[in-house]
């Protein structure tokens, strides 16, 4: 009798699980970093997609979106807008794609990004390092420092998070990647934290600034500050762009020409 009842209860539990359709039936901690196979190596997969859309034309556009945190409705609105714009060929995220560095946040971001019709790449932000975010980012996306080329332009994505990562930015790696800048029409560097922001001390700021100006970098792109700013910060040829967070649905479109670029700030209706 008891056995029959127990079996019925187990059946009931099975039915509940079936109907609820949990993405993951059992979760053990918000801090776990067990990334599903289908979510892994996103950077590598997207660089392959970008390589497939290379053209010979000088002029092209890409979108720069940053500091997603948990503003998922706005992320969806931005993606829908980017999907409608045929001139945008790919999207770069400037970091803080998670808020607490939790696996759940990374999964939500990934699942929303499935709706984007274009390739996208990310640079790691300070919030992405929190909890076990460092491990999750590495599995889900790939290396913290990497680069790609597009139509003879070089894009370098650089991890300059200091406090949350407990690391010193790998300026040697950056210097090495910038050393062949004369082979490219233009060089763009993307790092979450601008050199004139809170985390980089004066030595780091000086190192970063010198690497940009000595290696013919046209544009250094950042997030973190949550405000829009586009200017030549130091007395050199390098432009620094800080894009706003998506707390309001805003993003930047960078149009690249043969020897120059232009920036459009897109503000969508909330």
């Amino acid at each position: 009798m008891i056995l029959q009842k127990t079996i019925k209860i187990i059946e009931l539990i099975g039915i509940i699980i079936f109907f609820v359709g949990c993405n993951k039936i059992f979760e053990f901690s918000p801090y776990e970093a067990n990334v599903k196979e289908e979510y892994k190596n996103t950077t590598k997969k997207n660089i392959e997609l970008i390589n497939n859309i290379q053209t010979n034309i000088d002029t092209f556009s890409f979108a720069f979106v940053t500091d997603t945190h948990y503003h998922y409705n706005n992320l969806e609105a931005i993606i829908n807008d980017i999907n409608k714009r045929n001139d945008i060929l790919f999207v770069i995220f400037g970091g803080d794609i998670a808020h607490q560095g939790l696996l759940k946040e990374y999964q939500i971001f990934y699942n929303i990004m499935i709706n984007l019709d274009k390739p996208y790449l990310t640079v790691i932000g300070n919030h992405d390092y929190m909890s076990n975010g460092e491990v999750i980012y590495k599995q889900m996306f790939g290396n913290y420092n990497y680069l790609f080329e597009f139509n003879q332009n070089k894009f370098i994505l650089f991890d300059d998070v200091v406090w949350e990562s407990n690391k010193y930015p790998d300026f040697d790696w950056l210097s090495m990647q910038l050393s062949d800048n004369n082979k490219f029409k233009q060089v763009f560097v993307i790092a979450h934290i601008s050199p004139f922001s809170d985390q980089l001390d004066s030595n780091m700021e000086q190192t970063y600034k010198t690497l940009m100006s000595d290696n013919n970098v046209q544009l250094s792109m950042h997030g973190h500050a949550h405000i829009y700013s586009f200017r030549k910060v130091y007395k050199d040829s390098v432009s620094y762009l800080t894009a706003p967070s998506i707390k309001k649905p805003t993003y930047c479109i960078i149009t690249v020409y043969s020897k120059s670029f232009s920036i459009e700030l897109v503000k969508l209706k909330s």
Binding site: I9, F26, F28, S29, I108
Partner: protein, 196 residues
């Protein structure tokens, strides 16, 4: 004489032990003697969590303090050690012959440090830069089946329970965003309470 005194003392001790052992309410007021042991699988408080529980307010509240553990093979990062206070409220108790079935609800409050999480903001950060990320709450709904054993020796009865739950941050994300669906934030837990 001394021998007789020792025997009397032992007899009194044995008698008092029996009195206390039979009257659980007396034991509870005299000691921190728990009512039951809980063992739970999953539920965002550990791969396995184990701890001691108390019944309060005529069995309307079940409170436990639990230690949860997630090994490296499961977390895929560092070992995770979690201290949890769990509170469960049976909504109604339905007697069906020898068993009692209860829909349950409740919440947990968990504390964890060691996975780039902190209670006190480390000195490297400016004051007020971040708030603690060492605490998480979970909320759950579920069902519990209780059975008293007919010939109890150590274990007088047991609960088997199942829960569907989520974490407070996930609820916030689902509330703020239509992109986060309810099935993305729910997960299950199962466990037993052993009464003594």
């Amino acid at each position: 004489m001394k021998k007789i005194n020792i025997h009397i003392l032992l007899a009194i001790l044995a008698f008092s032990y029996n009195v206390f052992a039979r009257d659980t309410s007396l034991i509870k007021t005299k000691n921190w003697y728990p009512d039951y042991t809980k063992i739970q699988f999953a539920g965002n408080i550990g791969f396995l969590s184990i701890g001691l529980g108390y019944q309060f307010f005529n069995n309307r509240l079940y409170s436990e303090i639990l230690y949860g553990y997630v090994p490296v093979s499961i977390s895929r990062a560092q070992k995770i050690h979690i201290i949890t206070i769990k509170n469960t409220f049976p909504i109604i108790n339905k007697n069906i012959k020898e068993i009692i079935i209860s829909p349950i609800t409740g919440f947990t409050a968990s504390f964890e440090t060691g996975n780039n999480s902190f209670l006190k903001l480390p000195d490297k950060y400016p004051k007020g830069y971040l708030i603690t990320n060492a605490f998480h709450l979970t909320l759950f709904l579920g069902a519990k089946v209780h059975k008293n054993f007919i010939y109890p020796k150590i274990i007088k009865g047991a609960d088997l329970y199942f829960e569907l739950g989520t974490v407070e941050s996930y609820v916030l994300y689902a509330f703020l965003s239509k992109e986060v669906r309810i099935n993305q934030i729910l997960s299950s837990a199962i466990g037993i309470n052993l009464y003594y």
